[in-house]
């Protein structure tokens, strides 16, 4: 149950892109085509699934207050927490290199589809963010940490897939010239984020309400209506353009 809850929470409620804006840079840069977006998304899931549990072990047995107690009781009051940034990023950078080498050796076809994205990922904030959130939310066990890595990766994957699909379609609509490209992508992402906020009510059995739930349900319904309206407008614009082109 705990696992299921964390799984859904990290995919929908605490979605990396829409709730915390992690990995926005590659999200915006690599979302022009669905196929490349799928490649990058898959690579992110993979790397998160490897690095979050690894960094969990590091945090548990090396970094947190009193973590060194397994060395002997005289080490009990060491707190190396301030080193976590540098250790986490070093783990991530080396893991990404390692994964790249291993994948290249054993699965050239996977390497060809993921390969170019792997180096990009070392500096994707979603990866480091995953580890830092894992640390600050005090995730309890190694299995939960693995679960957290995979599910937040899936959340990121869904987000980039959705925006890539929308951007492929929006090419046919008549966006105001200054908004074309980056501007409209920002605004669509914002609207999608508002849509994702409505998932906040999903786990209301929980004692600590997720952020953003205080906004009443009426607002959420309104948001949905706004979204639908926009979609309708987009469709209308597409058909209008087709007519014009003819």
């Amino acid at each position: 149950m705990e696992h299921l809850e964390l799984f859904f929470k990290s995919i929908f409620i605490d979605n990396m892109v829409f709730a915390t804006f992690l990995g926005m840079c590659s999200y915006l840069a690599v979302s022009k085509k669905v196929t490349t977006a799928v490649g990058l998304g898959a690579a992110v899931i993979f790397v998160l699934a490897v690095t979050v549990p690894l960094n969990w072990l590091l945090d548990q047995y090396l970094l947190r207050d009193g973590a060194l107690v397994w060395l002997g009781s005289e080490y009990a009051d060491y707190d190396l927490g301030f080193l976590s940034f540098i250790l986490f990023i070093a783990t991530i950078a080396t893991m990404v290199q390692l994964v790249e080498i291993v994948v290249e050796k054993f699965s050239p076809s996977l390497y060809n589809s993921l390969g170019i994205f792997l180096p990009l990922i070392a500096v994707n904030c979603a990866i480091l963010g995953g580890s830092l959130f894992m640390q600050s939310r005090e995730i309890g066990t190694l299995a939960l940490a693995f679960n957290y890595g995979v599910s937040s990766g899936i959340g990121w994957f869904l987000a980039i897939l959705a925006i890539a699909a929308i951007r492929e379609k929006i090419r046919y609509s008549n966006v105001p010239a200054p908004l074309r490209g980056l501007g409209i992508t920002f605004i669509i992402t914002g609207l999608m984020g508002i849509g994702f906020q409505s998932f906040g009510g999903m786990l209301t059995g929980d004692n600590e309400a997720p952020e953003g739930v205080e906004n009443t349900t009426v607002e959420q319904i309104e948001e949905k209506e706004i979204k639908e309206e926009i979609e309708e407008q987009e469709e209308a614009a597409v058909s209008y353009n087709q007519v014009v082109n003819k």
Binding site: A19, M24, L28, A90, L128, P178, G190
Partner: protein, 215 residues
């Protein structure tokens, strides 16, 4: 400005508008959006980035001839991470409340693409003084957007600036509130940051048509 030649001044002034790191180069967006619900947090974040970028660019530029290109990403990450640790510890010591609000986003300066991007694009090919100016310029460009977004979100969302009420008291119904003005709580939720940046891009590109992209 006798200190700076015209070319050097350009390094600082260009990123403020026509080559802005956020709206034109699309760098460093992650942290720009998540912490802008309050003006104060935006300002502190800007100062932290200014510090890390200015010093980081100098360090990388001094080492540019001895870093083997194959491992340069790891070297860059280590340089940034060390500087960020300094920032994080200083914040925890002198502004503990604020460091709680910024939470992991101070750490995420490490992977802020604006820093890596400028290292790769500029500091690896230029001397320390020019790299320093480039770092300062880009950090200021980043700060401008952060402060604009933070200003509007805090003003419209909670009617305060830096925590000080400027539009009157919403409970006592003074100031603007006495004529029926209400705070727009919508501005405080995080997706609104994206929409505000979208609008900034819109305004900027309609003023300077040369920046308009093809679809």
């Amino acid at each position: 400005m006798a200190l700076l030649s015209k070319k050097d001044a350009g390094l600082i002034l260009d990123p403020l508008a026509d080559n802005n790191p956020i709206t034109i180069q699309v760098l460093g967006i992650c942290s720009a959006l998540a912490i802008t619900a309050e003006l104060k947090a935006s300002i502190v974040m800007s100062i932290s980035v200014l510090f890390v970028m200015g010093l980081g660019n100098v360090v990388i530029s001094l080492m540019r001839n001895i870093i083997p290109s194959k491992i340069r990403i790891i070297v860059q990450l280590v340089v940034i991470a060390s500087l960020v640790i300094v920032v994080d510890q200083v914040l925890k010591a002198f502004a503990y409340e604020l460091s709680k609000t910024l939470s992991v986003f101070v750490g995420l300066i490490i992977t802020n693409c604006i820093i890596m991007g400028r290292f790769e694009a500029f500091a690896l090919g230029n001397g320390p003084w020019r790299s320093f100016l480039d770092g300062i310029g880009n950090a200021l460009g980043y700060a401008v957007i952060l402060i604009i977004v933070g200003f509007f979100r805090e003003l419209l969302g909670s009617g305060t600036l830096m925590g000080i009420p400027v539009l009157g008291d919403p409970i006592e119904k003074t100031g603007l509130y006495s004529i029926g003005y209400e705070n727009n709580g919508f501005m405080l939720i995080s997706p609104m940051a994206l929409i505000v940046v979208g609008i900034i891009i819109w305004v900027q590109r309609s003023r300077n048509r040369a920046l308009i992209e093809e679809n």
